[in-house]
């Protein structure tokens, strides 16, 4: 059960927007399309929702899934300004000619679930951003979708409100069992909400995996750079051995690269001090809420780490040990 996107490509004139997209989303799963703006993330949602015709490729809706039971919620909510909250939420049911009594019952239930009681007769311009967001969700969920397509749903909300909306979305998913394809360019949001992430850069899916897998094992330099907060150490790899500044450490090399490569070390990678390991000199330290930010020198290259266990002083020579084999990517 779910949706399988098979080999979908799209171009406007000569400009290729999407290149051979293959993806699947399972029932109840939150899959995030993560990538910079203008790479075609929203276009994928429009194709799935049937708002834009497919040029090549196929959408395979399986089991309960169908285009009819797929609802697209666009960025900025687009609440109908001339309709009350009640009329907005009721819109889809009304379009399906559901009886008025049933509609009113369903809308009341939605208003309660999304804590919108007392706002039924308000117009959208009388609502706060968070309330507008909840009306937009209610308007979609009332139709019992199997798949919800959310385009940058929380982009216009401030960060504390965004946290609350994340929790609400997870709660609603548990209650209504819909799958979600979420489009975002916000890393924290992608990591917090996703079961799986698909990193989309230049119209191509670069990598699909759990947030942890993408964070710890980025397949390409582009993916690592887009996630951000990463050190790249230039060195040479042969098999599992990586050489940098006359040192050698064991690394993960799933793509079996050889020669000059980059070692990816997230700023937040957990490191301990030992007798052996990657040797570096502490240059300076700065206190931060999440821990001490340390800049270290390794030959000609610098390294920023925020999660080193142990006391550091500027000028110290330290041997860093990471709990896992770090990943190398092609230059």
């Amino acid at each position: 059960m779910g949706l399988e996107i098979k080999d979908v490509s799209l171009h406007y004139g000569r400009k290729q927007i999407l290149k051979h997209i293959n993806l699947e989303v399972a029932a109840g799963e939150i899959l995030t399309l993560f990538g910079p703006s203008g790479v075609g993330k929203t276009t994928i949602l429009k194709l799935i929702a049937g708002m834009q015709p497919l040029q090549t490729g196929q959408l395979d809706f399986q089991g309960d899934f169908s285009q009819k039971r797929t609802i697209l919620v666009l960025q900025d909510f687009w609440l109908f300004p001339h309709m009350t909250v009640f009329e907005n939420i009721a819109f889809g049911l009304k379009a399906r000619h559901v009886k008025a009594a049933q509609i009113s019952q369903a809308v009341d239930a939605m208003l309660t679930t999304l804590e919108l009681q007392g706002l039924a007769t308000h117009f959208p311009d009388q609502l706060s951003g968070g309330q507008q967001q909840r009306v937009a969700l209610a308007r979609a969920i009332i139709l019992k979708p199997t798949l919800l397509l959310l385009d940058e749903p929380f982009a216009s909300l401030d960060s504390s409100l965004r946290q609350k909306m994340h929790q609400l979305l997870l709660k609603l998913r548990q209650q209504y069992h819909f799958g979600v394809i979420l489009v975002t360019h916000d890393r924290d949001e992608a990591f917090e909400l996703s079961d799986r992430l698909a990193v989309l850069i230049d119209g191509e899916i670069q990598q699909v995996g759990t947030p942890q897998a993408i964070y710890e094992r980025p397949q390409t330099r582009q993916v690592a750079a887009f996630i951000g907060g990463m050190n790249f150490l230039t060195g040479v790899v042969a098999g599992q051995q990586f050489q940098v500044a006359a040192q050698e450490i064991t690394v993960a090399n799933p793509n079996q690269l050889t020669g000059p490569v980059q070692l990816v070390i997230p700023y937040e990678a957990a490191a301990t001090l030992g007798d052996t390991g990657l040797t570096a000199v502490v240059e300076w330290l700065q206190w931060q809420p999440g821990g001490v930010l340390a800049q270290l020198r390794l030959g000609q290259q610098t390294l920023v780490l925020t999660n080193i266990q142990g006391a550091l002083q500027p000028g110290d020579v330290v041997h860093l040990q990471f709990g896992r084999d770090l990943q190398v990517v092609a230059n």
Binding site: M51, I71, F91, A95
Partner: protein, 259 residues
């Protein structure tokens, strides 16, 4: 204080020509250098009402302007919907193209249209006049409606479609109410422009179909200011009735449209 005096001045400037029209209409003698007429009477009004073409002209003007408005909207609305959302032609070029009909002198267009309409047996018919009026009203209507579509954006219609609404439901419940203020403005302007057309009505109608401007203009040109004034007032009245009627018909609820 300053605001009140500005307002009064504005009222005065608007009212002054109307007062002159009214005075001309009710004057039976108004000779130089008198500031106001020397004699008043209903002679001019009677003369106008007894003119055999008066009521047909009023009715024809109204019907033609209303029909032109309907035809113009029927063409402009779907055209603008497509034009506002396409990316092949730049929006500036589009604006230029919409105004193109105004570059050619009206007389050139009307006379060549006449030749074509004779072949199509459209001269002397309401259809012919309405079509020729539509040519001159479309640029105004298109510009306003295109702007309304641009301002509205595609999000509402896309959202409605995703929520399962059929195209006609989207038109009825979303597009029409949201566009109503723009459509009403376009309709009002179309009505006014059509009502004041002289050349196309004259050439295409071939004198068989009388409208208010066809009667009014000769009087004004021949210095019969009292009759011309009386007709002008009627003209004004018909315009106001038409525009208010269209506003009332299209209306639409208007609440907090998105900026």
């Amino acid at each position: 204080m300053k605001r009140t005096s500005t307002l009064l001045l504005a009222c005065f400037l608007v009212a002054l020509p109307l007062v002159v029209l009214l005075l001309w209409t009710v004057a039976t003698q108004w000779l130089y250098p008198a500031l106001i007429p020397q004699q008043f009477g209903g002679k001019v009004l009677g003369q106008m009402l007894q003119e055999p073409n008066f009521w047909p002209a009023v009715l024809n003007s109204f019907v033609i302007a209303l029909a032109t408005t309907v035809v113009t909207l029927l063409i402009a609305m779907p055209a603008c919907k497509v034009l506002a959302s396409q990316h092949f032609i730049s929006q500036q070029l589009l604006t230029f193209m919409i105004y193109l009909p105004f570059i050619l002198p009206a007389i050139a267009i009307v006379t060549s249209t006449q030749i074509l309409f004779i072949q199509w047996h459209l001269t002397g018919t309401f259809t012919g006049i309405i079509l020729s009026h539509t040519y001159f009203t479309l640029p105004y209507a298109m510009q306003i409606i295109l702007e309304s579509y641009r301002k509205m954006g595609q999000g509402y219609a896309l959202t409605a479609k995703s929520l399962g609404a059929k195209p006609w439901q989207i038109l009825k419940t979303i597009t029409w109410p949201l566009m109503a203020p723009g459509i009403a403005t376009a309709a009002g302007l179309t009505f006014i422009v059509s009502l004041s057309q002289y050349l196309p009505t004259f050439f295409i109608g071939g004198g068989k179909i009388m409208t208010l401007p066809l009667i009014l203009l000769p009087y004004a040109n021949n210095g019969r200011f009292n009759l011309a004034s009386a007709y002008s007032l009627v003209f004004l009245l018909v315009t106001m009735i038409g525009v208010l009627l269209l506003k009332q018909l299209i209306g639409g609820r208007h609440h907090g449209a998105r900026n």
